[in-house]
């Protein structure tokens, strides 16, 4: 008598049911508030970031209306200055970094074969803190206490002498909110990638998106303390009279710039590097071959991560630092183009020697090539001290950074959203609408931002609410403003595509693209427990060829939440780690921390008194619950 297939199948069925019982969230609204499922948190993170993107984009459109004509009076200087400050701050702090981290929060645990992210409750906490910080700054803006000193907040303009009231304090504290959120995720991702990989996923088999997120997370860990320090120094100068930035008392306005840009330059690579990983996933899948030059690609990412910390002075070339020092930063800023060049070669080589098919994700990647490489060229230009002294703080730089941020990060992000949307939702987005969106975005983007190169060279500075006629700036500004409407059209197409697909999109199946990485080995969308059994990895494209069996290891409990920890380099199984149940304490902790942060905008005692409820909720969070399983070892 042989064990029949149906016995095995019903065993598996019972296993799946047990896993569902163990890993499902509570139903309804309480389930939504208490979930620690990285997929649910990741999805809401992405959606929230896209909402902030749209709001910041609308602000930009309003600014472009004001600038469409010289000496316009659609917006006065105060409102305009608040708008560009909000636009930049929202895009950088509330959209660009969070959305990239959110995609990673969703995809990385699946891509490395794990049941959940490393610190699920911290993950939930990170979302709430991010949301509350975003709500705070939006409310401040609507109440006319929004930031007014740009997203860079230079002192003395942002000091209490020149920025009265609480505007700058709300802004500086918003930074604290978003940096806490980003740091939490960074630690989670490092732990997930270095301790939770599927057995057999050695360092040389880690997918390039996971590599890029590992390096990004390390960059976040080392860069964000700089802005937390600088913004805390600013708040304390304004609130309790410290003199960090006050030249009259031994301080220095340039200290702000050094600390801010020590963060600020890695920040743009923190935004851009996840996109590099997304591109690798897309190019690999749609070339139907592994990325050429894996080792070179990883080394290029590492080199970029390191070099990014050595460039910040190129934002300060006009401040009067010693010329020889400036020249060093020119050389370093040019050097960082080399690893980018390596990556571009390897992607093109992959397409060249593969069997590429042009789908919407790949189309967005092609858009990346056209736009980011142009932005990279203008980046080489602004890296040069003498040339930068002309174009710094002009529309040339505005053009440059929009080409590298939109071309280099948003286009790949769109490609990644089209790529992973079937996994997130189980449905396909419309290819036809995707192509329409792409072309509207590509054309609209160039119409908006290319003329800005010319405007900068012709003398138009940044952050001006109006400009005189007769300098030749009128027509390029009008063209740029018209382009912004085309971009808006593309966003509407995207929104329509998403909402339509959610209702009536074609069902996707596990692996609609025939992609090689582990997230495609499970259902679309994945069940709460991600994988029934732990997948084992034998190469860097675990699912290729597509028709082979997936090797798995059994043995993780199905009646309690467990994840597998493996060793950092060779991914040998090491520990069965108990994972937390859904919990309301991350939300309470985020609320308590919000109270502390907002209180301390108005009084330094907020830090002291606000710490008490925070300590209480954090203690309850970590206190062992009666329901937690008792683990082995010790008594």
């Amino acid at each position: 008598m042989a064990t029949s297939d149906s016995t095995i199948e019903s065993q598996r069925e019972r296993g799946r049911e047990a896993l569902l019982r163990t890993w499902s969230d509570r139903p309804g609204f309480m389930g939504w508030l208490t979930t620690v499922d990285h997929k649910r948190v990741g999805r809401r993170y992405i959606a929230t970031a896209l909402v902030f993107f749209v709001i910041a984009g609308i602000l930009a459109m309003l600014m472009r209306i004001q600038l469409s004509q010289p000496e316009n009076n659609f917006l006065g200087p105060d409102r305009y200055n608040q708008m560009f400050s909000m636009h930049g701050s929202m895009m950088m702090f509330l959209f660009a970094v969070p959305v990239m981290e959110a995609v990673a929060v969703y995809i990385v645990p699946l891509m490395v074969g794990a049941r959940n992210i490393s610190f699920p409750r911290l993950n939930a906490f990170s979302y709430w803190i991010y949301l509350f910080g975003g709500i705070m700054i939006l409310a401040a803006f609507l109440l006319d206490v929004g930031p007014e000193a740009g997203w860079t907040g230079y002192v003395p303009l942002s000091s209490s002498d020149f920025s009265a009231g609480k505007r700058t304090d709300f802004w500086a504290q918003m930074i604290t909110f978003t940096e806490v959120a980003a740091l939490c995720i960074a630690v989670e991702l490092v732990a997930t990638i270095l301790a939770m990989r599927a057995p057999g996923m050695t360092l040389r088999r880690i997918p390039l998106f996971a590599w890029s997120m590992l390096i990004v997370s390390l960059m976040v860990i080392f860069a964000m303390p700089a802005v937390m320090l600088s913004s805390s120094f600013l708040i304390s100068d304004r609130l309790v009279g410290t003199q960090f930035y006050n030249a009259g008392e031994g301080g220095d306005p340039l200290l702000w710039q050094h600390l801010f840009w020590f963060f600020g330059h890695p920040e743009v690579y923190i935004i851009f590097m996840p996109a590099l990983g997304m591109i690798s996933s897309i190019v690999e899948t749609f070339s139907r071959r592994p990325i050429f030059g894996y080792t070179a690609m990883v080394l290029a990412l590492v080199a970029t991560g390191f070099l990014a910390f050595g460039l910040w002075v190129h934002h300060m070339f006009a401040t009067g630092l010693p010329p020889l020092g400036n020249s060093f930063y020119t050389a370093a800023s040019m050097m960082i183009a080399i690893p980018s060049g390596v990556q571009i070669f390897c992607w093109i080589a992959t397409l060249w020697t593969g069997k590429p098919i042009i789908t919407v994700p790949l189309l967005f990647v092609l858009g990346f090539f056209a736009l980011f490489v142009l932005g990279g060229m203008t980046g080489v230009m602004v890296a040069s001290v003498p040339l930068d002294l002309q174009v710094h703080d002009t529309y040339f730089v505005v053009a440059h950074f929009h080409y590298v941020l939109i071309g280099g990060a948003v286009f790949p992000l769109m490609g990644a959203l089209y790529f992973w949307f079937p996994k997130f939702t189980g449905r396909m987005l419309s290819e036809a609408l995707g192509r329409l969106q792409f072309w509207l975005f590509f054309i609209g983007f160039n119409v908006t931002f290319f003329p800005m190169h010319i405007l900068g060279l012709m003398g138009m500075p940044r952050r001006v609410y109006t400009y005189p006629s007769g300098l030749g700036w009128d027509l390029p500004n009008m063209i740029a403003s018209l382009g912004s409407w085309v971009i808006a059209g593309s966003v509407l197409v995207f929104a329509f595509n998403v909402f339509y697909a959610l209702r009536a999109g074609r069902p996707a199946g596990d692996n609609p693209w025939g992609a090689p990485t582990l997230e495609w080995a499970t259902l679309s969308p994945p069940p709460p427990y991600n994988f029934e059994e732990m997948p084992v990895v034998r190469g860097s494209e675990p699912l290729w060829p597509l028709d082979t069996d997936l090797p798995v290891m059994t043995g993780l409990a199905k009646d309690k939440r467990e994840a597998l920890l493996t060793t950092s380099t060779d991914a040998l199984p090491a520990t069965r780690w108990a994972m937390p149940d859904p919990s309301i304490w991350p939300l309470w902790s985020a609320l308590a921390l919000t109270v502390l942060f907002v209180w301390s905008i108005f009084s330094p005692w907020g830090v002291v008194w606000g710490a008490i409820p925070l300590a209480v909720v954090l203690t309850v969070w970590f206190w062992p619950k009666r329901s937690e399983p008792s683990l082995g070892g010790g008594e």
Binding site: V240, G509, L564, W577, L631, G633
Partner: protein
């Protein structure tokens, strides 16, 4: 999953806790240390950045007085002895020793906080007098914040040791907490040199 699977191994015999890099608590602690360590590095950088802007350092005041700072440093370094001891005992699952050690480390933390409070009164400068005062207070405040949170952590862990079931993961948490205390002590030694001795060597 619709893909066919073939079973190649079984994980059920793996332990459900561990020490070091195959324990997630360890990774979280390392993450904190890196973040806060970088904060210290940058704040120390700011200290030395501001220094050349003054012709004398401290610009008007006398340096922080050595008594409380040195006493604090001595006690902190001495606390490494029970700290290292509790880490070893945790790895041997010695619950009575861990219970005693956690209470002891919490008390040590409280004593150090008291000494720190005395240090603040003897810095010889206010935070709002000049940039020197601001950065000295910032360095001291940053370290105090991390020391206070670790003392609180030790207290909570101690309470759990006495009141709740203490399993393998909790022993691992004790070891991680001890690792973090290393960071607290030795980051302070660096800060001590910066705050108390830079003005005396200038």
């Amino acid at each position: 999953m619709s893909r066919a699977e073939s079973v190649v191994g079984d994980l059920s015999e793996l332990p459900d806790y561990n020490f070091g890099s195959t324990s997630l608590g360890w990774w979280g602690t390392i993450g904190f240390m890196l973040i806060e360590g970088m904060g210290f590095v940058l704040a120390i950088g700011a200290y030395y950045y501001l220094l050349p802007y003054e012709s004398a350092w401290p610009p008007e005041q006398s340096p922080p007085s050595l008594l409380w700072g040195t006493l604090f440093t001595a006690v902190a370094i001495a606390s490494e002895i029970p700290n290292a001891w509790i880490k070893r005992r945790a790895k041997n699952y010695d619950l009575p020793a861990v219970r005693f050690g956690l209470v002891l480390m919490t008390l040590v933390g409280v004593v150090l906080l008291g000494l720190r409070a005395m240090e603040f009164t003897a810095l010889n400068v206010r935070w709002d007098q000049n940039a020197y005062g601001s950065i000295v207070w910032a360095l001291m405040a940053l370290h105090t914040l991390h020391m206070a949170t670790d003392t609180f952590d030790s207290g909570v862990l101690g309470a759990i040791a006495w009141l709740k079931k203490f399993d393998g993961r909790k022993f691992s948490d004790v070891a991680d907490n001890a690792m973090y205390w290393h960071f607290i002590v030795w980051s302070w030694v660096v800060l001590y040199v910066v705050v108390y001795w830079t003005p005396r060597w200038m």
